[in-house]
Amino acid sequence: MGMAAESQFHVLAVDDNIIERKLIERLLKTSSYQVTTVDSGSKALEFLGLDEHGQSNPNQPSVSPNNHQEVEVNLIITDYCMPGMTGYDLLKKIKESTSLRNIPVVIMSSENVPSRITRCLEEGAEEFFLKPVRLSDMNKLRPHMMKTKVKDQKPEIQEEEEEEEEETPEVFQSPQHHHHHQQQQLSNNNNKRKATEEGLSPDRTRPRYSGLTVVSN
């Protein structure tokens, strides 16, 4: 049930703006992903099988991370600024949920606010895209979804994989559009992140996050 190794990746896109929803849908479909769009965080949680308080349906035992729904969700991409539940609130609820926390989450925002970006990445977002989102950004989703598939198939070495996994930092991507951060050793990185934060300004091109070193200009 829900194990569809051969089928496309399924992305849940969350945005309160109708034009942006249409755009993200087209971007995702053009990249050969299956798409479901919803217009709010609460609808997203509903789709994922949680109620507003992040509680799963007590009658449905969580067998594996994505088995909650008939349709498996491989990635959630959400706008940051939404009325009611923000993208950050949604991210938190997903990461607090035992059934959903392994689903990679990507945040989108029209505003380049370094502290916002840091906060989202620290909370477990895989990527932070600046709007308007482009086709080239869609390629960055695939590695995150691939990782989840691998994890599903090898549950016994899940912990090891999480620590060892290393993504080659894609440094010089679409200018000013992309913030990529590695998640290991969060506590060690806290000071470094703050320093990086101070060094950032909105017109700085292509900030580089290697996860361990501080880049200062």
């Binding site: 703006n17 109708i18 034009i19 942006e20 249409k22 755009l23 087209r26 971007l27 053009t30 600024c81 009325p83 029209s110 709007k131 308007p132 482009r134 086709l135």
Partner: protein, 151 residues
């Protein structure tokens, strides 16, 4: 009845002028690149949504700014939406006014807001006309020589 070459020329010149005059930016090109044989009307669909949504927002803005006691948070929320949609379709001049508009909201500057509202209505009206003319040219060209690959 204009020939294909003349229509093509017209279309190119007109499109170029829209970019040069700042009505459209690169995001509009991105939209065109997302259009293909399986989604031949994508750009028109998105832009039509933009027209509908913008008109709704402009009405809401007029109402909100007409109140005895203006709720600037509400005004800002609408402008934020308009800024987002205009940015998504590449309507650069509309987007830019929205940025200034939001600053006035933050300052709770009613005069600034009213001025911005007028400006954004003007710019919206202009870009709407421009885009409608653009689509019309595309249709004419399309009719003259079958389907056109979108550049």
């Amino acid at each position: 009845m204009e020939g294909v070459l003349q229509l093509q020329r017209q279309l190119i010149d007109y499109t170029t002028s829209l970019y040069n005059e700042g009505f459209l930016d690169d995001q509009f090109t991105q939209l065109q690149q997302l259009q293909d044989e399986s989604n031949p009307d994508f750009v028109v669909e998105v832009v039509s949504l933009f027209f509908e949504d913008s008109e709704r927002l402009l009405n809401e803005l007029s109402k909100a700014l007409d109140q005895q006691s203006v709720d600037f948070k509400k005004v800002d929320a609408h402008v934020h939406q308009l800024k987002g949609s205009s940015s998504s379709i590449g309507a650069q001049r509309v987007q830019r006014i929205c940025i200034a508009f939001r600053n006035y909201c933050e300052e709770k500057n009613i005069e600034g807001c009213l001025k911005s509202l007028q400006q954004v209505k003007n710019e919206y009206s202009l870009v709407k006309n421009k885009l409608e003319s653009l689509f019309k040219l595309q249709q004419q060209l399309s009719a003259a020589c079958g389907s056109i690959p979108m550049e």
